[in-house]
Amino acid sequence: MKSTVIVFPGSNCDRDIAVALERMQFKNQMVWHKETTLPKSDLIVIPGGFSYGDYLRSGAIAGKSLIIDEVIKAAKSGCLILGICNGFQILTETGLLKGTLLRNKNLKFINKDIHIRVFNSNTKFTNKYKSNQILKINIAHNEGNYFTDVKHLEKLKSENLIAFRYCDEKGNINNNCNPNGSLDNIAGIFNDNKNILGMMPHPERMVDEMIANKDGVNLFSSLIN
């Protein structure tokens, strides 16, 4: 399986995701944001980091890069797209995912391991997880507070487009385990066709017992499946 990681000035999780992908047997290529063509790939990853120093709004400037037109074309033709953290913010800025990521409710940058629950395990990104499986996974963001309009939120729920929600270690979902004020504890969503996933938590940081756990591995093995 071939993957491409887009690199922006300020991306800082691009190498982490590349290491995770290669470990999971992806043939990965890094592509600089000024490129105007994309190598043929099954998966395009928009990595985490702070593209353009979060100027204007997180992801706003990266969302207008030259390579993004190609990413949009690929997404529309069905290519799998994964946006992690700043990548999720960039995907909302391009319009590939609806809604937006606001500043964390407590105004603090949050870097910690939290729990999320898998809400749809019947997609190309999540099929190796069990339904309602609880994962312990790292978040590191200042703008992770997902917001969208009422109509879209209803659609996310009725069409099963919520990928992950923040929960406690037992899987309960409430305000106490919502780290950033995100609407309905949303941690990750799909587009209508479920070929695009945007998520604030970092699965690429959870692929090795030595440094964390392996709760992120199944996201990558789902894609290979």
Partner: protein
Amino acid sequence: MKFSVTVTLKKDVLDPQGKVVQNTLINMGMDYLKNIRQGKHFEIEVDEENQLEAEKKIDEMCKKLLVNLIIENYKITKI
């Protein structure tokens, strides 16, 4: 021609920064303060003499980049 663009959060969108500023001012004794919403301000100069055309160009800038229409409103004023 020069314009100012004021970008504000829509009414229903939570503004934690505005809230913190508001609470601080109230704590400083300004308890007559009713509400604060924090926004952004741009000053933009364009090479266009016709005001209507210039406003159209600024409007395009707002819609395409400066403003996130999901959560923000904007107002263009000639300066």
